[in-house]
Symmetry: C2
Subunit: 333 residues, 2 copies
């Protein structure tokens, strides 16, 4: 295993210390238990958004804490759910009296622990709504999941929901917007290589020199099929057909197209992928009105990409364009 | 070779088409010859900044075109210098009557071709100043270089010089600010893995399963030494000592610390690196007043990182903080 780390047991703590030192103008990092909150938390009278999950998917979620996006993030160990006490502490730290939304990716550990945390917080008088993300069309159930996995749509939900909260909309309304994002977003990923969890020291799975995995999960969970490498045009078509036909996205739809790198894929390839996604959607009469291209929900150093499409409406577009100021996503501020 | 590409011969063109389709609000892409200009070019009365170099280092340079940074970028084929006709065409396209600055990384092909382009442009009445970047302390001469290579400081020069140009400062003054950035910036890189140029199909160099290369160049050129993998604390110290002692950076200095990913290194590791850089500099009495953490000057899918330190003054800080709106770097706008 070759990684830029010290002891595998210290990776998450040291990463968080790095984030805290680098972005003290935007966020505050709490070490025991681990959580990241926006520097001005709690914002009185604003619905607060809290998310979390295993580490190894950076910048998600800690990199999305700040004005216009999340109020707090709870990082677990690498590919391991955070604990209810982290979530409870983060929720209390950002509660500004208008209620808190838990954005939960659909993995069994995350779901169970966020449920426990929500109960604890409610018993202390905090109004908590939970929103599930389950946008991955690749497989129905999976290694760590009952139902579909939560992937790329999470990033878009955190941005759009965060902007709605920033407008001081009430709890139910912001939660409904988040649920509407989930209902209109679909994703699928693929891997060129595996990744290595630091504490494990060996690749999560093996992939031949000429093999790729279509429908991979963000923890390396099995996808739909393992095939020989093909031109990206054909790879994108396999993924895009699965995504577009699922919802389905129809002629005349306006979408946000999110081409995401898995951590080890350079930007030059992501733009080649975006070019293919754009051509594919033009052929289907679907128009890309916004886009996001880069490595935003990663799987350590895995090479590969995912494609997320979100059907946009005028409110979504306005909320997407609203200012955001986080370590990982920033514009207009 | 497993990459998300079609024919290796089409990678750069298809990437540029992707950039053009994704960011038509910020940039215009010209295909024959290849260059990228800001969408509102030429800006009358403003000094224009033009850079360029081989592709494979994305987002540099095409991703740094836009308000507050570059006016144009000329991408060559992967790891290959662009041609004088590209540079000439780009220079003419962005000339707003106040002169043009060529930002040239110190590689033999880039230097020669930018010189020819500058001569061509001057013969047509355009006032051109050339600024060289040669900030890599790792080695004196190299495979493609007489003198030091140009690396991470390029990104900082493009931002700071771009902000100065945006203030409508005159040509000589903006060029001098760029030269002052080069004089105060130093870098060093390292690799955990090699990378594969698409047209070659094989790794540029070989590195053992437990080996790393300290002082690597952005095209995989040899560095100072090849060693066994160590804890990141020790790797950072080796690089930071070389960078700090070179200029030298002294107790009381204020610096911008730029921790750059080589393309295949995930953000979680870059924050661990930043944490070590921060601790190292604290020990030396050097204060980090600004930072940049991410993959901004890459070497295809190479895993590894580079560290750039830039000694800051009040003018540099103000220009760094000024709004920027490009595909790859954006804040305040």
């Amino acid at each position: 295993m070759k990684k830029l780390i010290n002891d595998p047991a210290d990776v998450v703590r040291e990463e968080l210390q790095g984030i805290g030192a680098a972005h003290s103008d935007l966020v505050k990092v709490h070490i025991d238990p681990h959580y990241v909150v926006r520097a001005d938390a709690p914002v009185q009278g604003k619905v607060a958004l809290v998310s979390g999950g295993g580490s190894g998917h950076e910048p998600m979620h800690g990199g999305f804490v700040g004005m216009g996006m999340l109020d707090a993030a709870c990082p677990g160990e690498v590919f391991t759910s955070p604990t209810p006490d982290q979530m409870e502490a983060a929720t209390k730290a950002v509660n500004g009296g208008a209620g808190v939304i838990h954005i939960v990716k659909n993995y069994t550990g995350d779901v169970m622990n966020f449920e426990m945390a929500a109960e604890l917080c409610r018993s202390e008088g905090i109004d908590v709504e939970s929103v599930l993300v389950d946008d991955d069309v690749a497989v129905q159930d999976s290694l760590y999941t009952a139902g579909r996995r939560g992937v790329g749509t999470t990033v878009l939900m955190e941005k759009i929901g965060g902007a709605a909260a920033e407008e001081k909309r009430p709890l139910k309304e912001v939660a409904d917007i988040c649920r509407e994002v989930n209902a209109n977003g679909r994703s699928m990923g693929m891997a060129l290589t595996s990744c290595t969890v630091p504490a494990a020291g060996n690749p999560t799975f093996e992939l031949g020199d000429d093999e790729i995995e279509i429908g991979i999960g963000i923890h390396g969970e099995p996808g739909r099929q393992r095939i020989k490498i093909k031109p990206v045009r054909e790879i994108v078509e396999m993924m895009a057909v699965a995504v577009v036909d699922d919802i389905p996205f129809k002629k005349g739809d306006q979408v946000l197209a999110f081409v995401n790198g898995m951590g080890g894929t350079p930007l030059i390839e992501l733009y080649v992928v975006f070019n293919e996604v754009n051509k594919f959607l033009q052929g289907r009469g679907v128009t890309i009105v916004r886009n996001l291209i880069g490595s935003y929900i990663t799987s350590l150093e895995m090479a590969g990409c995912s494609i997320t499409l979100l059907r946009m409406n005028d409110d979504f577009i306005r909320l997407w364009d609203a200012p955001v100021k986080t370590p990982g996503l920033r514009w207009g501020a």
